[in-house]
């Protein structure tokens, strides 16, 4: 059973239209290029390239075999066409599948040995890498793994985390240092043949983060990974794996940026989460990949598979995402609610401006008894942006007493944008209770005039109204990220509205 509702923006209000036309493109502040010498393998994809990546990373045979199986599967698959997005066909032979700064070749032992130019990049982006500064309370304490193109540059606070038993490192290191865990869980949530982009990722994935929280441990600090694409004509294929053992708890954040370039770049990531009995994983994303210019030139194709497995009873996985970047977003962070009484949550703010397109949502698969899921999706479309919510709630016969609440709101700014809703439900247990609410509204003259008549400028009014609209999602973000997200939203809307 599938229901489809489509809404296109009503005619523009004069004030909003003025605002849209008056403001021109806002500079993307993360759009700079770091001038480092990189070793980038020639463009193109073949078994040899898969072998080369594995060799460069000095991987064990089992992983190479896994990659090759994925590659062979990928060759037989077709790129999905069902998403409500339009783009020129991707030429997979024109992309380089591995690029690393030369200075990283000798594997610096700590961040102190890393090329200052790389560190400077993160400083410019405002990513705290200096543990001393954090310890001094200058910035909040967050452990960070930074991934530059295809390699992890370094991870902070490893010692402090190790004392708690928490493993936080790059997936490449984990393959060497903790092969038994990686082997057990890699591909156990998103199999290598799951979908076209997941298969591609499984074949060529370069780096990403690995988190392991042992039984009964509450991770002592926020963990985060910062992804940066720098090199031209490269794709980024990160792979993240988070395993939370019984009764453990972790909150993880990821952020992403890329330079401003005229060509499109592909980012096809896979994220797998595993929560065992009574464990809780909170995964937050602030995605700010380069969105392309106002005419739709350039920008990242963000084709991502994220899935969490609530494997144990009473486990909980919560996805929160703020998606403001990328030319195209294709992303459905999902939860498999396998354990009885497990809980899945999805909170999303997606903003499309200029020519950006987003087809995003979630899947909640209810398997266990009394499983509960909550979906709150807030889509904002401005300029010529296209915004689609696509969500599936599936209740299997085994899922007695399953409950879902879905709330899906769209906010339109101007008359050239569109918002679409594609909610799907598959209910195979009569005890399920599902609620679905959907609204579409636009920032109207009435609201703007009301604010202005109280002395608030047009721009501040728009930003206030949009933030109010997103509040339910922002409150799910860790405090320091919530502030970032609000700022990011305001910046992303500049040039569209305010």
């Amino acid at each position: 059973m599938a229901a489809t509702e489509q809404t296109t923006a009503p005619s523009p209000t004069s004030e909003v239209r003025d605002l849209v036309t008056r403001r021109v493109a806002q500079a993307y502040s993360a759009g700079f290029i770091t001038d480092v010498e990189s070793e980038t393998i020639p463009i193109g994809l073949s078994e040899d390239v898969v072998r080369l990546i594995s060799l460069r990373k000095n991987e064990p045979q089992w992983l190479l075999d896994w990659r090759l199986k994925a590659y062979r599967r990928w060759l037989k698959m077709d790129e999905p066409k069902w998403a409500h997005v339009n783009y020129e066909p991707i030429d997979y032979q024109s992309i380089s599948y591995f690029s690393a700064p030369k200075s990283m070749k000798d594997r610096p032992k700590s961040l102190d040995e890393v090329d200052p130019k790389l560190l400077e990049t993160y400083k410019k982006l405002g990513i705290p890498l200096r543990e001393q500064e954090m310890l001094a309370g200058v910035v909040p304490q967050v452990a960070v793994d930074v991934v530059f193109d295809s390699v992890s540059v370094g991870t902070t606070f490893r010692k402090k985390l190790a004392e708690a038993g928490v493993i936080f490192c790059s997936i490449s290191e984990a393959v060497h240092d903790h092969p038994e865990i990686v082997k057990k869980y890699l591909g156990s949530v998103v199999p290598f043949g799951d979908n076209y982009f997941a298969a591609l990722n499984s074949a060529v994935f370069s780096d990403g983060s690995f988190v392991f929280i042992p039984k009964g441990v509450r991770c002592p600090m926020e963990l985060s990974t910062y992804f940066r694409i720098n090199e031209r004509n490269t794709g980024q294929f990160e792979r993240t794996l988070i395993v939370a053992e019984e009764r453990s708890h972790v909150s993880y954040l990821e952020g992403c940026t890329a330079p401003q370039r005229d060509e499109n770049q592909l980012h096809a990531a896979v994220v797998e989460l595993v929560a065992l009995d009574d464990a809780e994983i909170k995964y937050s994303t602030v995605q700010n990949w380069y969105p392309g210019d106002e005419n739709g030139k350039g920008g990242i194709y963000n084709f991502v598979t994220k899935r969490g497995d609530c494997r144990g009873p009473r486990s909980k996985i919560s996805w929160t995402q703020v998606e403001t970047g990328s030319a195209i977003t294709w992303k459905y962070p999902s939860c498999i609610l396998r354990g009885d009484d497990s809980v899945g949550e999805f909170y999303s703010v997606a903003l499309t401006h200029h020519r950006q397109q987003a087809d995003t949502g979630t899947k909640m698969i209810h398997v266990g008894r009394n499983t509960r899921s909550t979906i709150v999706s807030k889509g904002i479309a401005a300029g010529h942006g296209q915004q689609s919510y696509r969500g599936l709630v599936r209740v299997l016969p085994s899922a007695h007493g399953a409950r879902n609440h879905t709330q899906c709101d769209s906010l339109l700014i101007g008359d050239q944008c569109g918002a679409h809703t594609f909610p799907y439900t598959e209910i195979r247990n009569p005890t399920a209770i599902l609620e679905h609410e959907a609204t579409t509204s636009k920032i109207g003259d009435d609201q703007l005039f009301y604010c202005r008549s109280r002395g608030i400028s047009e721009e501040d009014a728009v930003s206030m109204i949009v933030n109010g609209f997103c509040k339910q999602v922002f409150k799910e973000l860790p405090m320091e990220f919530a502030v970032e997200a609000q700022k990011l939203l305001a910046v992303s809307l500049e040039g569209a509205v305010g």
Partner: protein, 256 residues
């Protein structure tokens, strides 16, 4: 009359909405300290006047002008008018979901203060300031943490308009049908709020359909608006006369 002593001076104002002429030569002056009431039948142009004064888009002034303390009011943006001290109490206040009243009031007050070159209030000072006024309006302080007018009843919305007025402390208040939708207790509270703002340096223009608000807020002058013009002016007794006789008897004087 000497223009310098006027707070608001509306001179031969003509305005249209889309292609329809609504105001057709309206003249009216208020001095500091005065409260005037504008009454009139539906469709006479009362709300248009209120919106033109606050600067709403979509209304075109074709003739005449408005001076506020000697300044050309119509040349100012809505937010500039607010910072200069003009306040419009809306007939239909809008909802802004997710933006708390507290945040909204603080943003509004500080935006106005900033534009006047005054120091912005910090969170603690502001909270104390606003709580006092919430009490004055006999509202539940919890409303400060609810969205602006979100899920408010008609009466609560009107009370909230007066609360905003008390917080922003304007000098020229234009209240558009603030009495409609209020029960008798709420009407009293709203009237007390309006009276509290009365003083030698403020002026109020009450746009109303009924006499009942004027039982609680005694106007200095009452004007009858019909077909875009003032057709009759008088003292408070005029309002009572209108209550008894309705507006029909004034219609023939349209050309006056």
């Amino acid at each position: 009359m000497n223009e310098q002593t006027h707070m608001l001076d509306i001179d031969n104002l003509h305005a249209k909405v889309e292609d329809k002429d609504i105001l057709k030569g309206l003249s009216l002056s208020l001095r500091p300290g005065e409260v005037h009431a504008i009454m009139g039948p539906n469709g006479s142009g009362k709300s248009t006047l209120a919106h033109v004064l606050a600067g709403r888009e979509g209304y075109t002034v074709t003739q005449g002008g408005v001076k506020f303390r000697g300044q050309d009011l119509l040349a100012m943006e809505p937010e500039e008018r607010a910072a200069a001290g003009v306040f419009l109490g809306f007939q239909y206040p809008v909802e802004i979901p997710g933006v708390t009243n507290l945040y909204f009031l603080k943003a509004a007050l500080n935006a106005q203060r900033k534009s006047r070159g005054e120091k912005e209030l910090d969170a603690a000072d502001f909270l104390a300031y606003v709580k006092q006024r919430v009490k004055q309006m006999q509202m539940d302080p919890k409303m400060l943490h609810r969205g602006v007018n979100e899920g408010f009843s008609g009466g609560e919305k009107k009370r909230n308009e007066i609360l905003q007025m008390l917080v922003l402390q304007p000098s020229m208040m234009i209240l558009d049908e603030t009495d409609s939708g209020l029960d008798i207790d709420a009407l009293k509270v709203v009237a007390d709020g309006i009276n509290a703002m009365r003083g030698p340096t403020t002026a109020t223009l009450l746009v109303t359909h009924y006499q009942r608000l004027l039982d609680h807020v005694q106007p200095d002058r009452v004007h009858v608006l019909a077909d875009g013009r003032i057709v009759k002016s008088g003292g408070p007794e005029l309002a009572r006369e209108l209550e008894e006789k309705g507006y029909a008897w004034l219609q023939p004087q349209k050309a006056a």
